[in-house]
């Protein structure tokens, strides 16, 4: 009898444990990393912005469909090509109850221009910002700026009063490890406010009852619980401890889908993965030929045609990638379907091209890869190694953590490397400016073409859209024909969640919980 009672007791306690405390409409959200800081101007980095976006708002913002629309500003006009006037909403209150006025907007834009701000590059063209009256702001730019609204959509508005009271007038100096009130606390105009912050462990967002907007969500709370290990993250989702994962590993999607209580949503991400081949060095650092085979376009084309991108899509990416012909994606000005077509996969043609170039027996080369940056990056590289092996290229794969990978690329140590590129401005100029312009900071293949450089100048200053588009099209054709890079695919992102949780997926991987609901 005694032991029976004990068992009863144990069972009872057990079931008490099992009956999980049901919080009213709480979404538990997980991803690999955490926000680095709550200061909305201190770090321009994915998860950091994702968190800030729930709490802070900007003059304009991208909606669910990624189009730019009003947020804190109701409308705007350009009085001359370099002067913009924004009319602000009059009913906006911060979560402490104070009203937002043009003073706060001016203060925030100036704050984002301080040396410690990570967004200063974004709005470097802004020369002056001033309040015309309590709800009107005027912004002047150095040159006509066709993408100012894009840029402003990432500049969050803070309360001038709150910043002054809490000694947070300038952004946190992230690089120097500075600690500020604004890095661990937040106070914005957005639909949620942060009530608990334990970096890398837990962040709790509560509904902001003073929010000005039309409440479309039905949440009372969001909890962000970062889980670094992918398998653990999936396990937590499947066991019900987590409601949504915004970076679900592709290999686990089938398993998650097979669960009756879970669903998976995927959408093309604004990021293209490609390989770079240094075509300027006289001698490769890792080769065995004593020269640089990549100088010959035939060799670059042989590499291109040796890659069976469909096999990578099917086996490595589990169908979740779009094979790419250029390093940009639908939705970016300058993208066309025609440009995005790939050269055919053809091993024999590739061998022939190698032989024609004078390397019938192939050569040795090192491929540098990150192993924690892109979706299945290392696995893609491993697959590439095998495919190039079939045309006689002996590839030594060197995969390492992203920070080292990028640093060593910066130091010009790569002959043959993987990189991915997103286009936050949704304009081709961003790609050319960083990847193709002679001497550009990420042009590590050392591509250089005067015609492309000239076209980039046109993209920067030309206000006539037809002429500008023509320049973009011409530049894309040149770099594509040259095989300046070896494009692989556009990434697809997947969010996995419980069926009862509804968070609309967005191509920039940013959830907007103000449009989310839980049934």
């Amino acid at each position: 009898m005694k032991s029976k009672n004990l068992i009863k007791f144990l069972l009872a306690t057990f079931f008490v444990f099992l009956s999980t405390q049901s919080f009213a409409k709480t979404i538990k959200w997980s991803m690999q990393g955490d926000s680095l800081t709550l200061d909305p101007h201190a770090q321009n980095e994915g998860p950091t912005t994702m968190v800030s976006r729930q709490v802070y708002e900007a003059l304009v913002t991208r909606g669910l469909d990624m189009s730019i629309g009003p947020q804190l500003a109701t409308d705007w006009k350009t009085t001359n090509p370099t002067t913009w006037v924004f009319n602000l909403r009059k009913d906006v209150k911060f979560s402490d109850g104070t009203s937002m006025t043009s003073e706060d907007v001016v203060f925030s834009i100036l704050r984002a221009q301080q040396p410690t701000s990570d967004f200063k590059e974004y709005i470097s063209t802004v020369t002056s910002v001033k309040a015309l009256d309590e709800y009107t702001v005027e912004i002047q730019t150095r040159d006509p700026n066709p993408i100012l609204l894009n840029q402003l959509s990432n500049i969050f508005v803070m309360s001038r009063k709150w910043c002054h009271e809490n000694f947070a007038i300038v952004p946190q100096n992230w690089d120097a490890g500075q600690e500020t009130f604004s890095a661990t606390n937040s106070m914005g105009t957005g639909p949620f406010k942060i009530t608990l912050r334990e970096p890398n462990t837990k962040t709790v967002f509560k509904k902001n009852t003073k929010w000005w907007g039309n409440v479309e969500h039905n949440l009372t709370q969001i909890q962000l619980l970062p889980i670094k290990n992918a398998a653990t993250r999936v396990a937590a989702l499947l066991s019900g401890e987590i409601d949504i994962v915004t970076d679900a590993p592709v290999q686990d999607l089938a398993r998650i889908k097979s669960s009756a209580e879970h669903k998976v949503e995927s959408t093309p991400q604004m990021r293209t993965i490609f390989l770079g081949m240094d075509q300027a060095a006289d001698k490769l650092r890792s080769g065995n030929t004593g020269d640089n085979p990549f100088k010959k376009k035939e060799v670059r084309q042989a590499f291109y045609q040796a890659i069976d991108i469909e096999a990578i899509k099917k086996k490595v990416m589990r169908g979740l990638s779009e094979p790419a012909g250029i390093i940009t994606f639908p939705g970016v000005t300058g993208y066309t379907k025609e440009l995005d077509k790939r050269l055919p996969y053809d091993v024999n043609a590739a061998k022939q091209l190698l032989a024609d170039a004078g390397y019938p027996n192939g050569f040795d080369i090192e491929l540098r890869c990150p192993n924690d940056r892109y979706v299945n990056d290392e696995a893609i590289c491993t697959a590439v190694v095998g495919m190039l092996g079939k045309i006689g290229i002996n590839v030594n794969l060197f995969a390492q953590t992203k920070s080292k990978h990028f640093k060593e690329l910066k130091d010009d140590q790569g002959d043959f490397y993987m990189l991915g590129w997103g286009v936050p401005t949704l304009d081709s100029h961003y790609v050319f400016h960083y990847l193709y312009e002679s001497g550009a900071s990420w042009n590590k293949v050392n591509f250089s073409d005067p015609e492309v450089d000239a076209a980039i100048r046109v993209m920067e200053g030309e206000v006539d859209l037809d002429k500008r588009n023509a320049a973009i099209a011409k530049a894309w054709k040149i770099v594509r024909d040259n095989i300046a890079y070896l494009p692989l695919h556009h990434q697809v992102i997947s969010w996995a969640s419980k069926k009862k949780v509804n968070v609309p997926i967005r191509p920039n991987n940013e959830p907007l919980f103000r449009f989310s609901s839980i049934n």
Binding site: A176, A235, E408
Partner: protein, 312 residues
């Protein structure tokens, strides 16, 4: 301690360049240099080291390169998680290990003993990370009864955050602590068993038997007491080992303790965290050895007698 401090500083100082781990893809070279200057990485090595020792003695290990927060703060934040995990594991390992060890030591040829021994041997052969993965798969994914990661809800007591006071916290500690304890438990079983077998053959036990003292009393009063001496040494080493092995368990279960912090730091070459962790571990080992020596004194009469003879 100083040696460890020196080793932890000076050696990790050569491990890679922290700057590359801190900045993103789009940081200019000027910004990199500026950062280097702010962090004092341009100073000569001996200046950096003396700065390190002075700060370390004050409990300051600088600011984490990766998380940009003071290391002392990070460590004290993570410390409760690791300590709770290790203590629970040590308790499980010691209690069940001793009990099973005594049982198998007394009933040497029993069927149950053989089973326990076989399982304990299997336990030694199963690496901790495999057990952890198995547990997560079984209890969290298939059965869905226990959480697979983290500490659950914790209660902050000001200086200490504990998971013992909430249901989810208690649930969360089950899998990691059992995983962590298994390997050590098997060791203790075997050790206690061997000790018991050896002691049961000694003369004084034979005398005790001859004097007609009951078997139970012989086993638990006379034999176990002496059999425990090596267990205490092992338990001491054990706690150190548990702290080290918690690196693996914490990684598998995403337990927000120091081991997890350490492994993340290794991946980011986060020197301040790594050196602080090593100094901390060294400190723990010194303390454990000290405590074990004291315990010896109380448990083993021979040492006590010797000590008294000397002092007397």
């Amino acid at each position: 301690m100083l040696i460890v401090a020196f080793v932890s500083f000076s050696l990790f100082n050569f491990v890679g360049d922290p700057i590359n781990n801190m900045v993103g893809e789009e940081t200019s070279d000027e910004e990199r240099d500026e950062l280097r200057e702010t962090l004092g990485l341009n100073d000569p090595i001996h200046i950096q080291f003396s700065r390190f020792v002075i700060n370390a003695s004050k409990g300051e290990f600088g600011i984490s390169y990766q998380l940009r927060r003071p290391v002392s703060e990070l460590i004290s934040e993570r410390l409760p998680a690791t300590i709770e995990l290790v203590l629970i594991s040590a308790l499980i390992a010691l209690v069940s290990g001793t009990l099973l060890g005594v049982y198998t030591g007394i009933n040497r040829r029993g069927f149950l003993s053989d089973i326990i021994l076989a399982i304990s041997l299997l336990g030694v052969s199963l690496p901790t990370f495999v057990i952890g993965i198995l547990f997560i798969y079984l209890f969290a994914v298939i059965l869905g009864v226990l959480p697979s990661f983290g500490r659950g809800e914790v209660v902050d007591l000001g200086f200490w955050s504990t998971g013992f006071l909430t249901a989810s916290g208690l649930k969360a500690i089950i899998l990691p602590s059992v995983t962590l304890s298994l390997f050590q438990m098997t060791y203790i079983i075997r050790l206690v068993r061997a000790e018991m077998m050896e002691i049961l053959q000694t003369d004084y036990i034979k005398f005790a038997r001859a004097r007609g003292i009951s078997e139970k009393s012989i086993h638990y009063k006379h034999a176990l007491k002496n059999g425990l001496i090596p267990v205490i040494t092992i338990a001491g080493i054990n706690i150190g080992t548990l702290i080290a092995f918690s690196i693996i368990t914490e990684t598998v279960f995403q337990w927000p303790g120091m081991g997890f912090l350490f492994i993340q730091a290794v991946q980011f070459v986060d020197i301040p965290i790594m050196s602080a962790y090593l100094v901390f571990i060294a400190f723990v080992f010194v303390m454990i050895n000290f405590i074990v020596d004291i315990l010896y004194y109380f448990i083993d009469p021979r040492i006590r007698v010797k000590a008294e003879a000397v002092s007397g």
